[in-house]
């Protein structure tokens, strides 16, 4: 076997051949540290421009070597997912495995080619280092082990959501998004690195990392419990939330953010409704407080406040002018985005904790605010933004010019209206997309073809609408014409609406960033149509306050003035929701919690007078 001929020739003289080595130079290593390889795992460097302080490095560190340090003066922006924290490394513990580099969501961390550090016992604190891009001793050694695409431990791609194809969805109001199945939800949840940026960015600070973790662990009921800690509009937000969380997500810095909204939706859909009611009711006060609260408006803000206050044992009555509760989530958002039965479920949960919702009660007509004030300890108005703004361009008072919210209202209520054959929508926000896509569906059903044009001042990249909405609208055959400033409606000799005239937009804001669009008249277009729909914003109808109250309340540029907790200048009256905070479901929910806490606190110090 062995090819070494030792058995016979083993000789005392053999090693003498090695004397030849005296003629060769010896192996010599220089005393100074040798240059490390290009891939060396030396001391850390951290690009502070890229680092967002997410602390994922700390979580993967198997030696507990990383401490997060807050550094005043660095940028902080919860909305963008940026913290003023940076990792500090304990080189008494670090083993230079480089897992922190491979998992770093932003790619800011790397290891350098520097590897020598030593000190006396008195200088032991020099082992604790806050790495930046300048290197351990301020000398450049060059990058060693750094992030590569094939070694990235962050999963940048999101689980794809199954959706109805454009041709399947255009002729009906069926929900487009199918929702994740168990396996998809598990995989999507497993991408989360638990940095908590989403929690910080969320207006109502949902415990997103925790419920995502619970979904990953298969504890869906626990996920629902965590969701209900901060949001009783869970079904609604699982479908139509503006998801600031996903904008802040660390994984989104280089890849697709975790589909936090779809995970919430998954958890809510996966647990039986009756069980959700039990989970939501947990922690409800066992004894009634004897306090009474009236809430005007059964939208997300009003009902969230109602939910909180009812759980604290107060008697809560919600007055709603329309036939069904839900506010804009029901009357503004089309069914293909948010099926009505999901709103019904959220509201059923809220009712089940003891909230009394009375619909078709118009304040100011059926009952006055003054009466509510006299019979309750506190009153909250959460009226929403139901009135559509008008462009007031020439001929916009024509009977075939509508406000988007009015039409959306009619569609939800099932009220008949004359469906345009050819509609032009003014506006580039989500409401414009909602009405355009709703009309397109009805046109397809009734006329067999879609003819809707959306015109907006902005260019398409800067539309206020969610990019998904724009993409889906285009797929559904809606035409988008951007950079179009409406100049007037075209009326025929017989008085019929025949089109909308627009000019090309040169700029929207002036040098002081004030709204002052400039147009190029040469870029005039007539968009032929039989109906024009204005979707350029909404405002609150506060007429129900009555003249006297309107007079005595303090206002701020047309909006009701409130303190940080949502209380108006009248000590018995609070305001919340879109009417004070602008249109957004999850912000309204956050408002609801805030005023509920304020009302609860105020009532607990109030003398029981009524």
């Amino acid at each position: 076997m062995s090819d070494i001929d030792y058995k016979d020739r083993g000789s005392l003289l053999n090693p003498l051949k090695s004397w030849a080595f005296f003629g060769r130079p010896p192996v010599t290593e220089p005393l100074e540290p040798r240059a490390a390889s290009a891939n060396y795992r030396g001391f850390h460097v951290n690009d502070w421009e890229k680092c967002v302080g997410c602390s994922t490095c700390q979580k993967v560190c198997d030696n507990a070597a990383i401490t997060m340090v807050r550094i005043p003066g660095l940028p902080v922006d919860p909305v963008k997912g940026v913290r003023d924290e940076r990792p500090a490394i304990d080189y008494g513990r670090c083993c230079w495995c480089g897992l922190c580099v491979d998992i770093c969501p932003t790619g800011s961390l790397a290891l350098s080619r520097e590897y020598v550090h030593t000190c006396t016992e008195e200088q032991i604190s020099s082992y604790f280092v806050l790495p930046d891009s300048s290197g351990m001793h301020g000398k450049p050694f060059g990058l060693g082990w750094s992030k590569t695409a094939d070694a990235d431990l962050v999963d940048l791609g999101r689980q794809e959501m199954r959706e109805l194809e454009p041709e399947q969805r255009i002729g009906n109001f069926a929900e487009i998004v199918a929702g994740y199945d168990d396996q998809q939800a598990l995989l999507e949840a497993s991408r989360c690195v638990q940095c908590g940026m989403c929690h910080d960015a969320c207006p109502t600070h949902m415990h997103a990392p925790e419920y995502i973790r619970a979904i990953w662990q298969g504890q869906i009921e626990e996920a629902v419990r965590l969701i209900y800690e901060t949001n009783p509009f869970a079904h609604v937000c699982g479908r139509v939330c503006t998801r600031r969380c996903e904008d802040a997500c660390s994984i989104g810095k280089r890849g697709e953010p975790i589909a936090i909204r779809w995970l919430k939706r998954y958890a809510m859909d996966a647990v039986p409704h009756e069980r959700i009611k039990q989970i939501a009711a947990a922690g409800k006060a066992t004894t009634a407080s004897g306090r009474r609260v009236a809430i005007v408006g059964a939208g997300p803000a009003g009902l969230t406040a109602a939910f909180d206050l009812a759980k604290k044992g107060h008697a809560v009555t919600v007055f709603e002018a329309l036939a069904q509760p839900g506010g804009m989530t029901r009357w503004g958002i089309p069914e293909y985005r948010l099926p009505y039965d999901r709103i019904d479920r959220d509201i059923d949960v809220i009712r089940s904790v003891g909230v009394d919702i009375r619909c078709n009660v118009k304040i100011g007509q059926d009952i006055t605010l003054e009466e509510l004030r006299n019979t309750h300890d506190a009153v909250l108005i959460a009226l929403g933004l139901q009135q559509g703004r008008q462009t007031r361009i020439p001929h916009s008072e024509h009977e075939k010019v509508f406000r988007a919210v009015d039409l959306l209202n009619k569609i939800t209520a099932g009220e008949p209206f004359e469906l345009p054959h050819c509609a032009v929508v003014i506006g580039g926000g989500n409401v414009a997309m909602d009405i355009a896509r709703s009309l397109a569906r009805m046109q397809k059903q009734q006329y067999g073809q879609v003819d809707v044009v959306v015109t907006a001042l902005e260019d398409q990249q800067h539309f206020m609408a969610d990019p998904d909405e724009i993409k889906e609208a285009l797929e559904e055959g809606i035409v988008i014409r951007d950079n179009c400033g409406p100049q007037g409606c075209e009326i025929s000799a017989s008085g019929k609406l025949i089109g909308l005239k627009t000019w090309k937009v040169l700029s929207i804001f002036d040098e002081h960033n004030r709204f002052a669009p400039r147009y190029d008249q040469a870029g005039e277009t007539i968009h032929a149509c039989d109906t024009v729909i204005e979707a350029i914003g909404q405002f609150a109808d506060t007429s129900l306050l009555g003249d006297a109250l309107t007079e005595s309340l303090e206002w701020n540029r047309g909006r009701l003035k409130i303190d940080a907790a949502g209380r108006t200048s009248e000590s018995w009256l609070w305001a919340a929701g879109d009417m004070v905070s602008g249109p957004d479901v999850v912000t309204a929910v956050a408002d609801g919690h805030r005023v509920a806490a304020s009302i609860h606190e105020a009532m607990s110090v109030m003398e029981k007078t009524k």
């Binding site: 891939n39 060396y40 082990w145 070694a151 497993s190």
Partner: protein
Amino acid sequence: MRPENYQSVSQPPSNEFELFYGPNHPGIEGNYALKVRVHGDEVTSARADGGYLHRGFEKLMEGRLWIQNIALVPRICVPDPVPMEVCYSLAVEELGGIEVPLRAQWIRVMQLELSRIAAHLFFFGGHAATTGMYTPMFWGITDRDLILDLFEELSGGRVYHIYNIPGGVRRDLPPGYLERVSKTLDYLESRLPDYDNLLFTNKVFVHRATGIGAMTQEQALEWGVTGPNLRATGLAFDVRRDDPYLVYDQLDFDIPVEAAGDAWARSLVRRSELKESLRILRQVVAKLPHIGGAIRAPIPNPLAWNLPAGDVYTRVESSKGELAYYVVSNGGDKPYRVHVRGPSAMHAVQVLEHLATGARIEDVAQIMFSLDACPPEVDR
């Protein structure tokens, strides 16, 4: 045992001495002790005494995520760390049903064989040193350093490479890497005659090692001997060939055996294995450029990775023998149990006790080293 805890025992008068051989002595690659009773210069009994390198790896692994353990396992055997990384990764991959890309499998074979050469070079030096010859040790360590250079370039670390990860390897080969591997192989091949002259055909060494610590094949099997030590008793068994993993079944290599079962035979088997490893590496270097594709299968986010419940026993042939990991998952994100079966657990305890008994005191160090035992594999 710490000196302050030692209590002298009064013994009846005798001409026997109890000698604490270690924990620091030339016969072993780490801290490990042998308590020998000597009568004159003859050892009448020997008891292995471990624990000086116990760091509780198996317990530590139960508290760390599946991925985090890759930073831990190479520390279980410093002279030959790659089999530890690969064996652990193989276990996790089998539990998770992960198919390792072919390119990663070939890269792993390359590392395993480089590591084997490095470990054997270390071994020769040590074995020679126990017979009083120090030049082979200097040569072995110097040439081993060339392999550490290759590892540094590949993985960013010279000794603890932490380069294998469940799913594959952590980085692709640097540009021009295989050429440099080739050059090092050329150099090492050219060194083999030098080693033979210096050591393997050196009459002093041949005579000094022949007949020392001899065991028969029957004894070797009875005591659980594996690896080169077993092959030195004439049994041609190698996990790489007989329980193949990675792509070893696509490689052409022989399994050197010797019949004598003594220290000399054990050294010679390893010397022959050097050549076989070089032969395997030549094949890998020729093959790797033609194997493209990923270097790692997609694995989930390490912070949220549950492996299906189950257990698996993976084995690889390390430079010391049969290395095995028994890994149990209870469906969680960390191992439920990891049992490391290092070959030295046999060689450094009962085999050593058997072989040292009856030997002369000056041969004990050589017997220990010729078994190429790695104490941290015993202590874990």
